[in-house]
């Protein structure tokens, strides 16, 4: 799970006070020592099987070809950077994403103006390389971290300076949502990410008893915050609306709630 770009491995979040890089951790986040997997004996058998398979049986890359996979890996590294994680504790998001596309697992709908998900990813990779060449005369995998973020930011802002032919076949804002949500869905499906954010994980048949005031169950951990900032030069640390805040209808939410 190492990046194609050697420089990117040194791009660590920093301590805002001293500005010095924070060493990669086994478990970033504010709940040190919290482990959902340690609780697996308390889960029901079907859930245990599903989650352990996810952790232990990482699917091979079968949808993307070698070149696509390398670019897609570099894209994943920027959409969901994991430089702050110990290399052996990085979540193989590309494999999960590839598996979804390979097995044709659909979300149950396609926007009329979008190609099928797999084609959208292939076209997107191509467009991202075209933007990279346009801006920096290099392919995406050969760019520095900040340049890679610059490329992706143009898609986030729905203002890509190249790849026009592709964007005619696929609205750029829809591709952005597809890209980010698929990668985020792969990351936040993994128990290591639950430990990072302090989510209790599977809770059947045990359930919760301390519902109010953010209290931890006896097997959960209280929060222990530390300050951190994205690596110097990173552009993804701030927040701005998808579509760059230009007059542009805001994208709808993508998940079911109520």
């Amino acid at each position: 799970m190492t990046s194609q770009n050697p420089a990117a491995d040194h791009l660590l979040p920093v301590d805002p006070q001293s500005g010095s890089p924070l060493d990669p951790r086994r478990q970033p986040g504010y709940y040190p020592g919290f482990s959902t997997l340690d609780q697996r004996a308390f889960w029901d058998a079907a859930t245990r099987q599903t989650v352990m398979d996810r952790v232990e049986q990482v699917p091979a890359i079968r949808f993307f070809d070698g070149g696509e996979a390398a670019t897609m890996q570099a894209i994943c590294n920027r959409i969901l950077p994991q430089d702050d994680r110990d290399p052996e504790r990085r979540i193989p998001v590309l494999n999960y994403l590839d598996n979804r596309l390979y097995s044709g697992m659909s979300d149950g709908y396609r926007y009329e103006d979008m190609p099928a998900d797999g084609d959208a990813f292939r076209l997107g990779i191509q467009a991202i390389d075209e933007i990279s060449v346009h801006l920096h005369a290099k392919r995406f995998t050969e760019l520095e971290m900040a340049q890679q973020e610059e490329v992706l930011e143009t898609i986030h802002d729905a203002h890509p300076p190249a790849g026009g032919n592709i964007w005619k076949r696929m609205p750029v804002d829809r591709f952005w949502l597809l890209l980010v949500q698929d990668i985020a869905a792969a990351y936040y499906a993994h128990p290591w990410s639950w430990d990072e954010i302090g989510f209790g994980g599977p809770a059947y048949p045990r359930g919760y008893v301390r519902l109010e005031n953010g209290k931890a169950e006896p097997w959960e951990k209280d929060e222990q915050r530390y300050e951190w900032e994205p690596p110097p030069g990173a552009r993804s640390g701030g927040y701005r609306p998808v579509g760059g805040g230009r007059p542009h209808h805001a994208p709808p939410g993508q998940s079911g709630t109520h």
């Binding site: 986040g29 308390f42 926007y111 936040y188 954010i197 809770a203 919760y208 927040y239 709808p252 109520h258």
Partner: protein, 584 residues
């Protein structure tokens, strides 16, 4: 690794069909031959289909339910895991289009016995009396062919059958009281209560939700694990799979699962003769029956009618009015997210546990008709990440950072009434599914009143969130709860089915599910869908002599049949505060 004192929780080795840890399905199920002409064939055993199946079989009719998804063996099939629950949704292709295309997939219908009631959040409020005549009151939308007093006894019945837990005093709409006690509040409910109370807005907590606050028959009470939208393995949250299907099977109904209805067939005399479907092995089969009820959801019901076009019905079955697929509606479902200095841990407790309907009715001081409700929601990490992607534009390091604050955020949902429009509709797309059946295309766009309502509603919820003490408030646009597409009405020129669900065109073809709702107010539709199913079942039973002879049923309100409730539910639970009956 620590181990539970009583050992790990593994399902029993027996081959029993398990619905939750304790409930078992009585097997073997009755089986009808295809050559046998059964009384009723129901397409889709979901929210409405499950109730219909139970009522009709209890009344002694021979009923077959054709369901495209699996007959869940809950303890073995479901998981307490967000990504692993993908299979509960309708994942077959649909095309979404229009000025404001709606997100489908996990955002709308279910797949498998229980349908959408498997993954609903189980908010179970009633519609208000005003919802049944908004054209008369406000000059918008359309009036229902009947008023609140017709559905009220069914609300009261279904609230006991599900059953619904809620506050002793529910002050909005037709004030009423819930027989089953409210749930304890959790983090997000506390936020809603605090924000509303600060602003002087009445609010209720602990319900109304179709979730057990105490054990009930062979179903366990809620354990507050927050996975309602992933299917409740506990058996606490109602789905028709738990509340109605077991009784249906015990009464001799047959469910053919993994069977996809392809079209409804006609006899030479123009009456419906049965249903053609693809079984689990992909073989084409035909079930003969005297009457068909389509309960496939607001998208699949119109799709099946349109795909059943035949000579004499070139535009699709029951579509002489060109209304099939039209007047499709959603509700405004914006999610408002607030960050708090203190921890919330929004994943605990059922996502649905507190609400206010204070803004439900038209207010002449506002520049739009109708209104909205405000409800708790509880996104698990993947859903929350997707919300942050939209609401904050987060990605990269920013996404990682805000996700590390997951436990500091609370989430509230707007639920606003959007009006019916003829050009918001389901049509047939060029694409085909695995069986070669054309898939549905859903076209949706907002109109002026809709946009104003959303703008006002979302600001109000943001105000509540801030009043509760949030230091940052963001929101995402969203739509929830598809209904319409085969709406009911008295006029055959502007509606697909009559007030009982019988198609205007063909006397032995019924539709019964969310698709027949003419409007949906600002209440979640599930209770109303299931209540209407009980009523349509009563009608079919009351008129069965005529219907089985191919005659149109008489336009008479059917008698209320408490004797057809699942055993032990009728009159169980005493409302704590009897309200003086108020004018509806």
């Amino acid at each position: 690794m620590r181990e539970p004192i009583f050992g790990r929780f593994d399902p029993p080795r027996s081959s029993d069909h398990l619905l939750g840890p304790v409930q078992r399905l009585k097997t073997p199920m009755r089986h009808y031959r295809e050559s046998e002409e059964v009384d009723v064939c129901i397409v889709g055993v979901g929210s409405a289909g499950g109730v219909l199946l139970q009522r009709l079989s209890r009344a002694g009719l021979r009923v077959v339910g054709i369901e495209s998804g699996p007959f869940w063996d809950v303890e073995r099939d479901w998981v307490s895991d967000e990504a692993g629950s993908h299979k509960l949704y309708w994942n077959d292709l649909r095309i979404t289009a229009g000025a404001n295309p709606i997100t489908l997939g996990e955002n709308n219908s279910g797949h498998g016995v229980g349908g959408g009631s498997v993954h609903w959040a189980a908010f179970a409020p009633r519609f208000h009396p005003s919802d049944f005549h908004i054209y008369e009151l406000d000059g918008v939308g359309v009036d229902w062919p009947f008023r609140y007093d017709v559905i009220r006894p069914y609300y009261e019945m279904l609230e006991r059958e599900m059953p619904v837990a809620g506050p002793a005093r529910f002050p909005w709409g037709y004030p009423h009281s819930y027989p089953y006690g409210p749930h304890p509040s959790a983090g997000v409910g506390d936020v809603l209560i605090k924000g509303c109370t600060k602003l002087g807005i009445p609010v209720v907590a602990g319900g109304p939700v179709a979730i057990l606050s105490g054990s009930y028959g062979d179903r366990q009470h809620c354990i507050y694990r927050g996975f309602c939208i992933q299917g409740c393995k506990v058996g606490a949250k109602q789905s028709t799979l738990y509340s109605h299907v077991p009784d249906a099977v015990a009464c001799g109904a047959e469910i053919r699962d993994r069977s996809m209805a392809a079209r409804v067939n006609l006899r030479p005399d123009g009456l419906v003769s049965g249903v053609t479907y693809f079984d689990a092995a992909g073989n084409e089969r035909h079930q003969r029956c005297k009457l068909v009820v389509i309960s496939g959801y607001a998208i699949e019901t119109p799709r099946l009618l349109l795909n059943s076009a035949s000579p004499g019905h070139e535009k699709g079955l029951a579509n002489s009015s060109d209304t099939v697929g039209r007047y499709l509606m959603v509700q405004a479902g914006n999610v408002i997210l607030g960050r708090f200095p203190q921890l919330i841990r929004l994943y605990k407790g059922p996502p649905a546990h507190a609400l206010t309907e204070e803004f439900y009715e038209t207010d002449p001081r506002r520049d739009f008709a109708r209104g909205f409700a405000v409800q708790t929601v509880g996104p698990l990490p993947i859903a929350f990440a997707k919300q942050m992607m939209v609401a904050k534009g987060a990605w990269g390091w920013g996404l990682r950072k805000v996700m590390m604050d997951y436990n500091h955020w609370a989430t509230l949902g707007l639920l606003g009434e959007l009006l019916p429009w003829a050009d918001n509709r389901v049509t047939i797309a060029e694409e085909r599914d695995g069986h070669g059946l054309p898939v549905a295309k859903v076209t949706y766009g907002l109109k002026e009143n809709d946009k104003k309502l959303i703008e006002f509603g979302k600001r109000k919820v943001m105000e509540i969130m801030s009043a509760a003490g949030a230091e940052e408030v963001v929101q995402e646009a969203r739509y929830a709860h598809l209904i319409g597409g085969a709406r009911m009405g008295d006029d055959p020129d502007t509606s697909v089915v009559d007030r009982f669900g019988c198609s205007h065109d063909i006397p032995n073809l019924f539709c019964c599910d969310g698709s027949i709702l003419p409007t949906q107010g600002s209440a979640n539709p599930g209770l109303t869908i299931q209540s209407l199913a009980a009523r349509t079942a009563n009608y079919i039973i009351a008129q069965s002599d005529r219907l089985s002879q191919g005659l149109r049923g008489l336009p008479e309100e059917p008698p209320i049949r408490h004797d057809l409730s699942p055993p032990g539910t009728y009159q169980r639970g005493i409302p704590r505060i009897p309200w003086p009956a108020r004018q509806s």
